[in-house]
Subunit: 203 residues, 2 copies
């Protein structure tokens, strides 16, 4: 049985035959919103999938470069993917260093804290903008719709999730930033009051 990464690869080569290099490009930071992995993990996994008969490749020779090995899914691979996709997913830890740093935030100087958060916020704001741009591009390239029957549905679904996640992230960063800012008089951290407050809204 393939690993999760193996299934991620199967899903991608099922959409379109491609090389390990292509896969690595799609699975890399910071825009790999589908599944992230490095080429050092991808090439061996592709080899395993091939040995198991779930993918097959054909080599395209190139001048002065290693040949491109374009991998395609086999019928057995498709069957395996479909069968796996129907079963409940395994939960994985969502560990994020910033959560630890936020936990220790009150122990560091507020200058340092603001710098840290500002930088994070900017990075994730940029990533969000990039993702939204990709979404807009995807939508305009698919004027006939991106419903479940569209071949791009999978990409679209992953993108929407990535955008939602990123929005939550920037909202949280902004909340943290407001908490560490000295000028927080106007909007203090949780204090009992008669009016219920909303979770920080986005944008």
């Amino acid at each position: 049985m393939p690993s999760s990464l193996g299934y991620a690869i199967l899903a991608l080569v099922a959409s379109k035959p491609q090389s390990g290099y292509d896969l690595a490009r799609q699975m890399k930071q910071p825009l790999g919103e589908f599944w992230q992995a490095k080429h050092g993990q991808i090439y061996p996994e592709l080899a395993r999938l091939e040995k198991a008969g779930l993918v097959e490749f054909n080599e395209l020779a190139q001048k002065s470069r290693p040949p491109r090995k374009v991998h395609a899914i086999t019928p057995a691979g498709k069957a395996e993917l479909v069968s796996w996709a129907s079963k409940p997913p395994q939960e994985r830890p969502r560990n994020d260093e910033l959560v630890i740093k936020a936990h220790a935030l009150r122990r560091i100087s507020s200058i340092a804290a603001m710098g840290l958060l500002q930088t994070e916020l900017e990075a994730h704001d940029h990533r969000l903008a990039a993702l939204e741009q990709r979404r807009a591009a995807l939508e305009s390239r698919n004027l006939s719709g991106l419903g479940i029957d569209s071949p791009r549905f999978g990409d679209y679904a992953a993108l929407r999730h990535a955008i939602g996640t990123e929005r939550e992230y920037v909202a949280w960063c902004r909340w943290l930033l407001a908490e560490v800012s000295p000028k927080t008089k106007a909007r203090p951290a949780h204090r009992p009051s008669r009016s219920k407050r909303q979770v920080a809204s986005h944008k």
Copy 2:
């Protein structure tokens, strides 16, 4: 230098001296919203931190049970934590099997797809409710506020992030479910229209 897990442990024992078992309890599925790890990883890491002089423990003997080793952070540990917390975090992959399954969703039967999504949605809805209950409990136990100076600020910040993340997740699941449902006539997947649609709202 400790690993990320090491710093997560430092942050927790900095709030309150505790045993490896206590740490494992807080870091376990499905409510470990801070950092997830199993005891098999925690005990060796604690031993490393102790050898490095960042934590120290004292053994509390118990009748008919291994002694509780209550670990506390040392001044050196506190310094190391603070110094690390001020530096920019390292990005980690946020890999989720459901994203792969969603990508392959159009390849599976709509019955199977709906079952899968319904189950996921329920699980995450429950988790969200549990997290919100914890937030309410935290808030009512801290009527004097949960701002940056509160000793519970770190927990509160982590909880807010977990709640936001879970809200996004259930919204995404609901969107997916609407996409696979046959009765989607009324609210089709992306189609060009003059009225802009919002990302599914929460609650």
